[in-house]
Symmetry: C2
């Protein structure tokens, strides 16, 4: 069993991820927001890679059962219903809704995994469940850190390291890892001792504090606080156990 | 003063590096080979991004004062004079020669820095001198790890971490660092305690051992063993102190 970590989506392209098992990690904040939204009853999340694509995909459905959520530079996009703070994705706001979701890093990384065999969304808030999912699959996995504008992000690397450590320490088979997965474990064991402190001193954490989202940081590093598993099913992200009876068909191919 | 580390050349493009101060690190083995070649009297190194470019650039000069050096998958390229092992770049082989240099990761990263204000080539073998160079410049620097096929490499990250640690600990001004520079320091302080062991257990180190280059690993992690500083001057790499009186004019623009 091989676990490879990629510190930036720039290091992989969608054809490399084709038929692979993928976990996308965007701790601050897309992973956390998606997990929160689905746990609060959102019907599905439709990840898109650009604002143009979000507008095109939502089309006439927009405003009824379909919402647009996401951010640029951490802030809500003009014309969108929701930003990228998990605190906005309450039951009142999202129950029964399909959410077209466009963020700078997370949703773009998820779109890159559109040809993957499996794609799960992971963060600190559901990390143990992601580890269970990988163990049950029993196959090689690629863990893609969403990072920030193609760059390395400490919080995603530390979360990847926590996940890899769980897999390496509790596996019936030998788990082989790449250099980045080894580095991620080292970072988790050192910088990850105090997750909130780590998040607050990270580049993107500092930026979020500056623009008024300090309270999100605590939410985003709360380990196993929302144990549900978002999975890409077709071209939408849903909870694993949820039965999709009446899925709206939407084209999420990027132009 | 800001020191940013990039774990992969995929995270930056040449326009981002324009007018910046850049250090390119490719421990295994381009940095080590370039330092060795110039220390053994090579006139200059001409980095190119592709084999086609190497052939085009060398043209009619090839075989006289101009040699071709480099690798694909760690092995010498057909039609080239030299591979990418520092042990090949002896005084007998390289003295007075211009070497057109094409490697999978290192030379490509150096070509990306062609519009930089300053570009130095660094590895463990000249790390203290690189630190001195940055201190003397007294400006922001971008440290680009060449990695391996766009991926994170432990040996480059650890070397970057050693360099950042030197700068942070011995600076008259506050040194601000990005997440990757922070992570690199953590990796140096942990995994970097035994550099040879680290190199032997790294992805690319293991591969080099497999194809018969184990002895290169010791050379490549010998700290400050060849204290010379290769710098990009015009479109060639030369030693800092060397006076270029009769530089051959070559076009190294990528096609």
């Amino acid at each position: 069993m091989k676990i490879d970590v990629y510190f930036s989506p720039a290091q992989v392209d969608e054809m490399q991820l084709r038929d692979k098992n993928v976990v996308v990690i965007d701790v601050l904040r897309a992973s956390t927001t998606i997990v929160t939204a689905l746990n609060n009853g959102a019907r599905e999340i439709i990840p898109v890679g650009s604002i143009e694509s979000a507008v095109k995909v939502s089309g006439n459905l927009f405003g009824d059962v379909v919402l647009r959520g996401g951010e640029r530079n951490g802030k809500i996009i003009t014309g969108f219903n929701l930003g990228n703070s998990p605190s906005e994705y309450t039951e009142d706001a999202v129950k029964g809704k399909s959410i077209i979701f466009c963020t700078t890093n997370g949703s773009s990384a998820m779109v890159k995994a559109k040809y993957a065999k499996r794609m799960a969304v992971g963060g600190f808030i559901n990390v143990s469940l992601v580890a269970d999912f990988i163990r049950q699959a029993g196959e090689d996995f690629s863990i893609v850190c969403a990072g920030e504008k193609q760059l390395f992000c400490m919080e995603d690397a530390v979360c990847a390291g926590m996940l890899v450590k769980m897999l390496v320490e509790d596996s019936p088979v030998v788990v082989d890892v790449n250099d980045a997965a080894g580095a991620a474990q080292v970072l988790y064991k050192t910088v990850g001792k105090n997750l909130l402190k780590m998040a607050k001193s990270s580049d993107h954490g500092k930026y979020l504090v500056d623009i008024g989202f300090e309270s999100d940081l605590k939410t985003c590093v709360s380990v196993d606080s929302i144990p549900v598993l978002p999975l890409l099913i077709g071209n939408v992200i849903k909870l694993k156990k949820e039965e999709a009876k009446h899925s709206i068909t939407l084209d999420v191919q990027e132009g």
